[in-house]
Symmetry: D2
Subunit: 333 residues, 4 copies
C-alpha cells in the first residue's frame, strides 16, 4: 500500500496528458485486428530470451529491447529490430510484452524518463510478465489507462525449461475484454493461460501459489526427514504420504529427498530447478502483500525466513527443494 | 527417548517370565491357522465400536473389553462375550486388537496390573491401532516379545465414517512375517493395509502424514485468505492452485474455505471431520518424536502451536480446517 | 527498497528546482539563530496535540495544521495561528515538526500537491516524528535536500502519557551538524533525545526496539503461562526471571500477568498502554525493512503474525501485553 | 505426562517396601542434625566435579560415585571415599547430591537395578541438581517418599565457571520444611538458593528461564542484525535498546554482536559460555513440558527449532549467542 500510495502521490505531480480518454475501446479494436504486426519485447534475460524466441517462431516479428545491449545481440543477428529504450519500443509497436526482474525495473521501464508511457500509442496493449507487487501492477495499470492504453499483469509459472518448451503457465489480470488479445500472444509461449480477474490478480495468484508451494516444500522436507529418523524408508514414506492426506505436489512430483524420484533437482544435487533466492524473492512479495492487506500468514512468514536464512548459508543458487539438505543433520560437523 | 528409557529402566525391575523363548515361530504358526477363532477387542469408543462390529460382520466372534462397562453393553446385547480386564481377554483369545486414546491408556492395557501381558499366551498376536508415541510402541513390543508373543502397531487414518464403512487405512509396523496374519483381520475394517517396516514405523507413518497434513492445511488456509484479500475469487484461486505446484490434499480434496467445495466440513460450519483437538494431539506426538530424534521441524512445530492456540480459543471441537476461520479477520470486532 | 526506488523513479520526472545548492550551511545558520520564531506543527492527533502544547509552553509560537480542521480548533481558540496546508506552513515557518500516522500521510504532507516542499524556504529544518519506513524517510530527505532544506527523522518512544508529561524519547536521524538545532525543539517535548546517525536511523532504532519488545513480551507471556501451568506462583516466577538471564523489560517493568505488578495494563484489564494494533503496525514496518534488507527475522516475523491474528480476534484495542490473555486456555470454551 | 504415567504404570508393578511411613519427619530430624557427616555425590562431570570440590572445601567429607571410574580418580587421589554404585552411596550416606546429564541417567541412578532407592535409608535427603523433565522429578520424588526419604529437585543456573567459583544459582523444589537442610549444602556451591515450591518447580523455573533466555537471545540477535543493516552502529543500537523497552539480559549483559561488549563469548569467537547443544536440550525439555501441559509456546517452539538447526549446521559447540553469526549473511557464499 505504502509503495502504491507513494507512487500515486508523486505521480500526481506529473504533467498530465489531458483527460483520460473514454473511447479507448475504439482504439483497442483497431489494434486487436493488427495480428502479426510487430510485438515489442522488453527484458531478454534467462526467461525473456526463450519467450521472445517462441513469439518469433509463431510468426510475430519482434522489436527487442534490454537494458544490457548484449542481451539484444543474439536477436539482432537473427535480423530482429532492436530499440534503444522502452519509449522507442512504444513508438514502434502497439503490443508490448515486458519480462523484468523486480518492482523498480518494472517502474523504470513503464514510467521512467524513457519509459513506455512516454510514447505509448492509444489503444496499445501492454502485458507485464514480471513477478512484482500486485500494488505496483495496479498503479502501472492506472498510469497506462491515463494514456488511453491497456495494461495487464501476466506473471508466469514454470522455469527456464518451460520457457524454452513454450509450456509456461500465465496467470493474467486485467480488463476481461482484453483477455483474448493477450491470450493470442501468450499462447505462443505457454500452454496454459488463465484469466484471474482485475489487474493485479495475476500477480496475486502467482504469489499465492508460490507461498503455498514454499510451505508444502519445507513441510515435505521436514516430514521426510523426521520419518527417516524414525526408521521409515524414504520411498515407502513418500508412497504412503502420496496416497494419504499429506499428499502435495512437493511430495508426489518434486520430492526433495535424494533417491525418491528421478528427474527432479533432488536427484541431481539440487542443481537446476527453481533457485532458493528466487523463492525467497517471491516470499518477500507475499509477505509485503500480506502485511499491506493485514492478512495473517504465520507459515508463509516462517517459510520466508527459512529461505532467507538458507540464502545466507550457501543455498542461494540451489533448487528450493534443498531445504531438505538444510534441515538435515550433517554428520561430520 | 526419555519415555522409552524410563519404561525400560523400570521394567527391568519387573519379575521376568524366564528367558525369552526362541521358538516363538512354532507357537505363532499354531495360532495363525486358527482363523475365525475369537478375537479380543479392547477399547470400544467412537472408533473401536464400529471397527469391532466390522470384525463381527466378517464372521469373527469377538471378546469385548472396555474400561467403561457401558461401552460393552451394546455388544453384550448382541451376544458377544465380554471380558473383565485386558488380562482376561488375553486368557481367552490369542489375537487381540486394541484401540485406545493415548500413551498412558496403552501402557495400562498392556503392562498394567491387569494388563494383557499378565496372561498373554505364547504366540499370541497383539495389534495396537491406537495413535501413540512410536517409542512406546517399541517398548510394548519388547515386553510382548519377552512373553513369547507378537506386537504390531497399526494406527489408522480415516475417521469415524471410514471406521463405519470399513475403509480405514492401516499403517502397520512389526515383524514382516506376521504381516499377513495381521492383514487378515485388518482387512475386515479397512480398505488399505500398508506394511511400513519394523515396530513403531506404523506410528511414524501416521504421525508424519498428519504433521504434513496440518502444515498444508494451515498453509492452504492462509494462502486462500491472502488471495481473497488480494481480490481473487476463492473458487478460481483453488482451481489455479490445484493445477499448479501449490496443489495439495487440503486444497483439492478438503478445501477449508466455505463455498469452494461441497461435502467437506468447511461447507458445514466445520462440523464433523477431524477435530482440532485430535490434530493438536497428533502434532504433540510429532513434536515429541522430533525432539527425541533431534529432527528440526520448524513448520510442524508452528502448526502445533497454532492448533494449540485454537484449542484455547474455542475451536477445539471444530474440524481442523477451521483454521481458515481462525486466521480470518472478524468483521465485527 | 521497492518503495524508495519507486519514489525515486517517479520523482525523477518531477520538475526540478535547478541544481541542489551547495551552500545550504549558510542558509541554515541564519535559521538556527532564529530561536523562538514560529514553529510549524503538522499533525495534531493524540500524540501531536500534547506535543504541540508542550512547545507552546516552552515559549514557541506555533503554526498549526491538520487535515481535520477540528483538530486545529483547540489551538485556534488559544490564539494559535492555523495554516491551510503544509505548503502554507512552509511559507510561514522555517522550522516544522510533523507527527503523522503512516507512510502515505507523510508522503502527502511532504511531497503532495500542497506539501511542505512546494513552498519550503531554503535552510528550513523539517523534523518528522512519525513512525514510518526508514526508506521513505531517506527519500523525503533527498527531496528536501534538493530544495536546500534539511530533513530529520525523529520518531518517539512513549505513548500519550509521555507526550503530555513531556518525557518522550526521540530517536533522531539526519545530518549531525543539525542535531543541536533539532534538539532545542525536541527537548521541549521529551526528556531523552538521542542522535542515531544519518537520516533513517531514527526510524531504524525505533523499529528495532519495538520488534525486540514485541518478541520479549510474547516470550514473557508464554513463559509465565507455562510456568504457572507447571505449578509456579506467578509472582515468584517473575522474581526468579528478573534476577536471572531471562530478565527483560517485559518481565521486570511491564509484566503481562495480572496480579504480578501494579500500575501496568495487565493490572487494569489491559486497558491503556500501547495498543496491539499499533504494535502490529510497527512490526509491519520492521517486516518490510527486514524484507528489503534481506535480514532474517524469524522471531520478529512470528511476533508480527501473532499480533496480526490478535487484531483479528478482538485484541486490537487492548494493550499489547494482552498476548498473555490470548495464549491462555480459556476455561469456559 | 506420558512419561510420568508410564513410569507410574510400570512402577506399580514393583515390589513395595511396605506402606509409606507417616513418621518420616522423625527420621528427617535425626539426619538434619548430622552436619558434616559424609555427603554422597553422584555425577562428577564438568559441573559435578567442581561442585563436589566446593563441598569438600566447606568441610564436608564426600562419598563419590560416577558411571565412569576415571571421573572418580581425582577424588580418590585426594583421599575421598569412592562408592561402587548409587545403591552403595545410599548405604553410606544419608544426604546425597546428584548431577546427571539427562532424564534416563537420573532414572537409572534413582530407580535402576543398583539405584539409590535400592538402599536408601529412611529420612535421607536426596537432592537432584540435574536439569530434567519436571514430571520425572515428581515421579522420582514419589518413589523416594515411598522409601521414607525426601527428594528435592535443585537444578542450577550458571555454567562451569560459576560452578568453580561457587556462585551457582539453585532453584529448589520440594517439601518446604526440608529447604533449610538442602540450603545448608547448596550454599557451599552457590551464592543464590531460591525456594520455588513443591517438587518439580525447581525444574520448571529453570526451564522457564532458559526458554525466555533463548527467545530474547535470538530476538536480540535478529534485532541487532536488522539495525546494523539499516545503518545503525551496533554499540549505539545496544545502548538505545538498553535504555528502552527492548532491554533484556541478552542485550545488556551478554550481547551477541562482536565488538559491543568485552568479556562475553561474542568477544571471543563464541567460545566458552553456554553451548548451543545445551540450550537445544533445555528447549527440548521446555517443549515437552509445554506439550504435556497443553501450553502454547509459539516463540519458545521456534527458538527450539532454530537452535536445533544450528546444531545441525556446525554451531553445536559454540555459545548460544552465536545465533547472531548464524543469522547473518555470509559475504563469501
Amino acid at each position: 500500500m505504502a509503495a502504491a500510495l507513494m507512487l500515486r502521490a508523486s505521480v500526481s505531480l506529473l504533467h498530465r496528458h489531458g483527460k483520460v480518454c473514454a473511447d479507448w475501446l475504439a482504439w483497442v479494436s483497431s489494434r486487436a485486428m493488427a495480428s502479426k504486426t510487430p510485438v515489442g519485447f522488453i527484458g531478454l534475460g534467462n526467461m525473456g530470451n526463450p519467450m521472445a524466441k517462441n513469439l518469433v517462431k509463431h510468426g510475430y516479428p519482434i522489436i527487442a529491447c534490454d537494458v544490457f545491449p548484449e542481451a539484444c545481440k543474439e536477436f539482432q543477428e537473427l535480423g530482429t529490430q532492436v530499440a534503444d529504450s522502452p519509449a522507442d519500443v512504444a513508438d514502434k509497436a502497439d503490443r508490448i510484452i515486458t519480462m523484468l526482474p523486480s518492482n523498480p525495473n518494472a517502474i523504470e521501464v513503464y514510467i521512467g524518463t524513457n519509459g513506455i508511457l512516454k510514447k505509448v500509442k492509444k489503444g496499445s496493449l501492454l502485458i507485464d510478465s514480471s513477478t512484482i507487487d500486485p500494488e505496483v501492477s495496479k498503479e502501472l495499470a492506472k498510469e497506462t489507462e491515463k494514456m488511453g492504453a491497456v495494461f495487464m499483469d501476466a506473471p508466469v509459472s514454470g522455469g527456464v525449461g518451460a520457457a524454452r518448451a513454450g509450456n509456461l503457465t500465465f496467470m493474467v489480470g486485467g480488463v476481461e475484454q482484453e483477455f483474448d488479445a493477450a491470450k493470442e500472444l501468450l499462447t505462443c509461449m505457454g500452454s496454459n493461460v488463465v484469466y484471474c480477474g482485475e489487474v493485479g490478480t495475476g500477480q496475486a495468484a502467482k504469489i499465492c501459489n508460490n507461498m503455498l508451494l514454499a510451505i508444502s516444500m519445507i513441510g515435505t522436507a521436514e516430514t521426510m526427514n523426521l520419518g527417516i529418523r524414525l526408521g521409515l524408508d524414504p520411498k515407502l514414506l513418500a508412497k504412503i504420504l502420496n496416497m494419504s492426506s499429506g499428499r502435495c505436489w512437493s511430495s508426489d512430483t518434486y520430492n526433495p529427498v535424494p533417491g525418491v524420484m528421478d528427474g527432479v533437482p533432488s536427484a541431481n544435487n539440487y542443481q537446476g530447478g527453481f533457485g532458493t533466492t528466487l523463492m525467497a524473492k517471491d516470499l518477500g512479495l507475499a509477505q509485503i502483500s500480506a502485511t499491506n492487506t493485514k492478512s495473517p500468514v504465520p507459515l508463509g512468514s516462517l517459510a520466508h525466513q527459512i529461505y532467507r536464512i538458507m540464502c545466507a548459508k550457501g543455498y542461494a543458487q540451489k533448487d528450493f527443494s534443498s531445504v531438505f539438505q538444510f534441515l538435515r543433520e550433517e554428520e561430520n560437523l
